[in-house]
């Protein structure tokens, strides 16, 4: 295992080392210590590496991640795994706002709470939150799934297109054009599978399903007040 101490080297040096990993390289397991809230740690990874970050990190950690596994043993700042393409990003603490924003694929697991706008404009990413999410989560979600084990804040799924939202606790309010949908046996299996992938213990039977009513796809004057 390779250890990088961010008290000794810069984030830029770390990220450049990670970007240089090519096919056939054997540097698969990395540990980063002393992150001290630094921004943009482990951004833009394209190699199948496993990175453990010991401590709290700043903004945009693991942004644009592809293939790699990034585990943060602490709190993450704004914009975790923004635009994630694939791979796994796991946070053992809480996440600040806009986690997994615009994510196109992969799995983002937040074991604690995620703040406002979790999964904003999600485009295929799967997000599993062990705690609660803040307001405007899954805003304008286009595809993918957001699984929230506890509660969701106001305006959940506002202006959502086609993403699926599953909430195990209470929803403060639904956003424009977001409605509760039937929890089919297939949905139940899907939630169970996602919780399993995320290694989060929760009873799938508790979850309710929310998604788009599809009334805002085209402008209709009858719905002007909804926009």
């Amino acid at each position: 295992m390779i250890e990088v101490d961010l008290a000794q080297s810069s984030v830029r040096e770390l990220n450049q080392r990670l970007h240089r990993i090519g096919p056939g390289d054997n540097e698969h397991h990395w540990q980063v210590v002393n992150p001290n809230g630094a921004h943009a740690i482990a951004v833009g990874l394209t190699a199948p590496v496993h990175i453990e970050i010991r401590g709290h990190v700043g903004y945009y950690c693991a942004g644009m991640n592809a293939v790699a596994t990034v585990v943060v043993d602490g709190h993450v700042g704004t914009g975790l795994a923004e635009n994630i393409m694939s791979g796994l990003v796991r946070v053992r603490g809480n996440a600040a706002q806009s986690a997994a924003a615009s994510g196109r694929g992969g799995l983002v697991v937040i074991e604690g709470d995620a703040s406002a706008r979790c999964g904003i404009s999600m485009k295929g990413v799967t997000i599993v939150v062990g705690g609660s999410v803040g307001h405007m989560s899954a805003f304008m979600g286009q595809s993918g799934a957001l699984v929230v084990c506890r509660d969701a804040g106001h305006d959940l799924g506002d202006s959502i297109y086609e993403a699926d939202i599953f909430v195990g606790g209470k929803v403060a309010s639904l956003g424009a054009d977001c409605v509760e949908k039937e929890m089919t046996p297939a949905d139940l299996d899907r939630v169970a599978a996602l919780l399993g992938c995320a290694q989060i213990a929760a009873d799938p039977e508790r979850f309710r399903h929310y998604g788009s009513a599809r009334r805002l796809y085209n402008f209709r004057i009858d719905h002007a007040a909804e926009y």
């Binding site: 809230g37 709290h56 903004y59 700042g77 809480n94």
Partner: protein, 299 residues
């Protein structure tokens, strides 16, 4: 942008390292606010019956000794003036209103940056390391402190427009964001007797809290009322003689992070400012909820 920091020790006695820790926190926020830096320190109490006033004079070498002589002929001073270049702290036994009237009549060139039993406010244009050094922040003890690094959007880059703003006894406020209804609200508050020194939006928020506290509201109640009366974007950190509070607007676009240990509570715009504190790695860390007042008080 702008960076705000706050550090509140839970024990009653002053912590010697408070100033050096706050200087370290401010230094981490330098990129967020290169225009000016300011901080409020809650240190030693003034003697019973007296209050401390932080004055700002033109230039870095204002003749504070001469002013002290003049002040002493008008009011009893309980200890020597504490000069810090362009700022000085005086401890005076008098009704604060009489002192303010004397200052505006005899020395209108002076600004009152704070007054109260415990508060001292220092602020100036420049980056945090330079401003902290200018005022000897690293050597100051205290129970709690707030700081701000400013990237100006609403009003001019001057010492007077820097944060923190203090409009009432021992109360101060730092702000990341911008208010959109401050002009109208300033007029309303002026009619209620609140005085403003600048056209800055944040000063109106500080004045609003002063007004609510004068009505007998608690700090938490005043901040809850602010949610209905202030329009705009804000993350506020507020200090009182014995308390510390945080409030974010309902949309909560402006970042904030809180951390708490058995010994202290810290707030910052970014976690890296908290990372320098002793015990930070083991602290509980979370993003404060929108439209929710967080407050801590010593009894």
């Amino acid at each position: 942008m702008c960076g705000i920091v706050g550090l509140f020790f839970k024990r009653e006695i002053a912590t010697p390292a408070l100033g050096s820790l706050l200087a370290g926190m401010l230094s981490q926020m330098r990129e967020r606010g290169p225009d000016s830096t300011g901080f409020a320190l809650y240190g030693d109490d003034a003697p019973p019956g007296a209050f401390k006033v932080t004055l700002h004079g033109l230039g870095i070498e204002y003749d504070w000794a001469s002013l002290e002589g003049e002040l002493a002929t008008a009011f009893p001073l309980t200890c020597r003036a504490q000069p810090y270049g362009s700022h000085a702290v005086f401890t005076i036994v008098a009704d604060p209103e009489r002192v303010f009237a004397w200052i505006s009549a005899c020395h209108p060139e002076l600004d009152v940056f704070s007054f109260g039993e415990r508060i001292e406010v220092f602020k100036d244009v420049g980056r945090p390391d330079a401003v902290a050094q200018r005022f000897g922040l690293a050597h100051r003890a205290g129970t709690h402190a707030l700081g701000h690094t400013r990237m100006a959007t609403e009003s001019a880059v001057t010492t007077e427009h820097s944060h923190p703003f203090s409009t009432g006894a021992d109360l101060c406020l730092v702000h990341n964001g911008s208010l959109s209804n401050h002009n109208r609200l300033r007029q309303t508050l002026q009619r209620e007797g609140i005085r403003f020194a600048t056209d800055n939006d944040t000063e109106v928020a500080a004045g609003y809290l002063t007004w609510r506290l004068r009505q007998g509201r608690s700090l938490t109640e005043a901040l809850e009322a602010a949610l209905g009366d202030l329009d705009g974007f804000y993350t506020f950190a507020v200090g009182t003689r014995d308390g510390f509070a945080i409030l974010r607007d309902p949309i909560a676009c402006k970042p904030a992070v809180l951390a708490e240990t058995d010994d202290w509570v810290a707030m910052a715009t970014e976690y890296r400012a908290i990372a320098i504190l002793p015990g930070a790695a083991g602290a509980e860390v979370w993003e404060p909820l929108p439209a929710t007042v967080y407050s801590w008080h010593r009894q």
